[in-house]
């Protein structure tokens, strides 16, 4: 079902009627000329690929976004408190709010970092919170918290600038919240936790799907873009190997690679993109790692179930935003429900991400159904089940027509001295009608997100 046209969206359409629509092609030219890519590996080949863009923005009325913003800030604060607790006192486990086995068995939980504190007690420096708008209730629902290496923020930031250049009419006539301060806010967050030295964006390199974003973030924050081999650790301090032979101390690293690849002396010894002994420097408190090591425990799909309880536990507040109705086969009662209702649920493998490991019960063959039931019974902790959310389609311009496509929203949150939500975000849409998987890695496209006040 397509989202009803709000007065704000109607205003967009009214202005669009009056502008030179042939200039829409300038967006594609802009993306091509600037190589605004989200690259793919397919069949072992590296493919440079522009991120498909739809020029009709998702428009969210300001009052609606204010509610979202409050809920997202609340959620990120609770998740940060959870991470600080889990790696120190583990009070939430001792108080029985979250079952210990859920944390202990989480792939992203790194017990070898127990007792390690993060500079300024911040671990969720940059979060990407995925939401959809339910067409039945009209409410926004949180689908996922991404607290490790959420990507995508550069795309709306880049296209917003192009939009302003191509169609200033919208920005002259509509009150659209600005997002360009994201770079300053990110830089300030880096400075806030910096232990003395350079700010660095650590990238796996040019063949990473989000390399465009890495270089973009280095540019807008003034940080040094570095490969793992550009850094070295000595006496638990991190240095950049500068071109003139000097070593420059590094105080904060916005790493764009997963824990597994971050430090070959600590994690995957085969990693060629990490920095040997970086984890030791982090343990010693000599460098801020953004996001912190071990955050995967908090954005585990199983732990997601407990976030509303975390909000009550740590903040003593009622959750402002809801989770999707979720069942944990780990609990006998939930397991019985899941097995009895598998045809109408979505089954998610907690170890997967990026739209992988997601099965819609109503699309399973009898053999697949039996197979997944056996897998759930064998390892219930590995799966969660959720009611299918009939989230809204958004209007997308495709081949000269406006067509409905499923779309979500990734909101970007920076946790520095304060917690701030970027007043926009990345709207991702599926390329095929009826497809619920909107992820970039599944071939989806993107829209800008405008927060508009009439």
């Amino acid at each position: 079902m397509i989202e009803p046209v709000s007065p704000e969206l109607q205003k967009f359409y009214d202005i669009f009627e009056s502008v030179d629509q042939s200039k829409v092609s300038e967006f594609e030219d802009f993306l091509d000329a600037n190589a605004v890519n989200f690259n793919l590996f397919k069949d072992g080949n590296f493919i440079e690929r522009s991120f498909p863009f739809d020029m009709i923005p998702r428009i969210i009325p300001k009052a609606e976004f204010d509610h979202l913003e409050a809920g997202i800030i609340q959620r990120v604060k609770a998740l940060n408190a959870f991470l600080n607790d889990i790696y120190t006192d583990q009070k939430i486990l001792k108080d029985g709010i979250v079952p210990r086995e859920y944390v202990d068995s989480a792939k992203g939980f790194l017990p070898e970092f127990m007792g390690v504190t993060s500079p300024k007690a911040i671990r969720t420096h940059i979060s990407g919170i995925d939401l959809v708008k339910d067409s039945v209730s009209g409410n926004w629902i949180i689908l996922e918290d991404n607290l490790r290496v959420p990507s995508g923020v550069s795309y709306p930031l880049s296209i917003r600038r192009a939009f302003r250049h191509t169609y200033p009419e919208f920005f002259e006539s509509m009150k659209i919240s600005k997002i360009k301060q994201y770079g300053d806010q990110l830089k300030a967050a880096m400075q806030y936790v910096n232990t003395g030295g350079l700010n660095v964006v650590l990238t796996p390199g040019r063949y990473n799907s989000a390399y465009y974003e890495h270089s973009y973030l280095a540019k807008i924050t003034g940080a040094t873009l570095a490969l793992g081999e550009d850094l070295l650790v000595e006496n638990d301090e991190v240095f950049l190997r500068a071109y003139n032979g000097e070593r420059l101390r590094v105080g904060a690293i916005y790493r764009r690679l997963d824990d597994d690849f971050l430090d070959p002396s600590e994690f995957d010894a085969e990693s060629l993109i990490g920095v040997p002994h970086l984890a030791s420097a982090y343990r010693a408190g000599n460098v801020a790692i953004m996001n912190s090591i071990g955050n995967g425990v908090a954005d585990d799909k199983g732990i997601y179930y407990f976030v509303p309880a975390m909000i009550q536990y740590y903040l003593n507040e009622e959750p402002i935003l809801s989770n999707a109705p979720t069942y944990l086969p780990y609990y006998e009662k939930d397991r019985e429900y899941v097995l009895a209702n598998i045809d109408k649920l979505v089954i998610k493998d907690v170890a997967e991400a990026g739209g992988y490991g997601v099965l819609f019960g109503n699309r399973l063959s009898p053999e697949q159904r039996t197979e997944i039931i056996d897998m759930i019974l064998a390892d219930p902790r590995r799966f969660i089940a959720q009611e299918v959310i009939e989230f809204y389609d958004l209007p997308c311009m495709m081949e000269g027509q406006i067509l409905p496509r499923k779309a979500d929203l990734r909101a970007y949150v920076i946790h520095g001295e304060e917690v701030t939500v970027s007043m926009g975000g990345l709207t991702r849409y599926a390329m095929e009608e009826g497809n619920y998987l909107v992820n970039s890695s599944q071939g989806g496209g993107f829209k800008d997100t405008w927060v508009v006040e009439l």
């Binding site: 071109y243 003139n244 101390r249 105080g251």
Partner: protein, 241 residues
């Protein structure tokens, strides 16, 4: 708030990035110069000497074959050799992608558009007019990175690469040691700005191959790759040994 040094763009440049910027400058300069030579030689092939194109590429150590002037252009642009314009621009673009956070956006997008245009035209006849437009685009790119006002340190690496490439091509194509000597001081100034320990290059030899070697060695005296501590592989092998 953390204390200590905070460095902004252009100050803290890694060895890898410095090398990329330098090679970006070299490839852009190489593309611009060879495009000019290609267009000039195209006229010679038509009017004066059908072998002029072969002679041009022989100076670069490349053997090419062509049937006529347009075929010569096609070979110069898309030929299967390291001096084809497509190869050179591909390498310029690769270096630009890895350093784009330090580059002017217009310079980057102009180069990328040239690349896209070349890739799209691979199956078509090469038009001399489109090559002249490409030369203009390269002049724009070179101009952006030559601007005197507010030039960040990153651009000095590009300028260094441009100078070295110019010298290299002048020596290979014209044996022009005097021409190189006339511009040497400007290159030395840039190298010194980048590395205060750099000792100015002086050309005393009249042997072109010796001068080529000296000129191409300048970068190793500016970008010092091997001055840092043990790398992890060495460390690991030592701990095992």
């Amino acid at each position: 708030m953390g204390g200590g040094i905070m460095m902004t763009n252009g100050v803290a440049i890694s060895v890898n990035t410095a090398q990329r910027l330098y090679w970006f400058g070299r490839y852009v300069q190489r593309a611009e110069t060879l495009l000019r030579e290609l267009v000039n030689s195209y006229d010679y092939v038509i009017d004066r000497d059908v072998d002029d194109g072969r002679k041009l590429y022989a100076k670069l150590g490349v053997e090419i074959e062509y049937r006529n002037a347009l075929d010569f252009l096609k070979e110069g642009i898309y030929g299967n050799h390291a001096s084809s314009i497509e190869s050179i621009i591909t390498w310029a673009r690769e270096n630009a992608i890895e350093t784009r956070h330090l580059l002017d956006e217009r310079g980057f997008s102009t180069l990328n558009k040239i690349y896209n245009h070349l890739v799209a035209g691979r199956e078509s006849t090469v038009s001399p007019t489109s090559l002249e437009e490409m030369i203009d685009d390269f002049a724009l790119i070179l101009g952006i990175f030559s601007s005197e006002l507010g030039r960040p340190k990153a651009y000095h690496f590009i300028r260094l690469g441009q100078y070295i490439e110019r010298f290299d091509l002048i020596l290979r194509l014209y044996d022009g040691i005097d021409l190189v000597n006339a511009e040497l001081e400007a290159m030395n100034v840039i190298a010194r700005r980048l590395n205060r320990y750099y000792q100015p290059l002086k050309i005393t030899s009249s042997d072109v191959s010796n001068v080529l070697k000296s000129v191409n060695g300048v970068v190793d005296r500016v970008i010092q790759e091997n001055t840092c501590a043990l790398d992890y592989a060495e460390e690991a092998s030592q701990s095992q040994g």
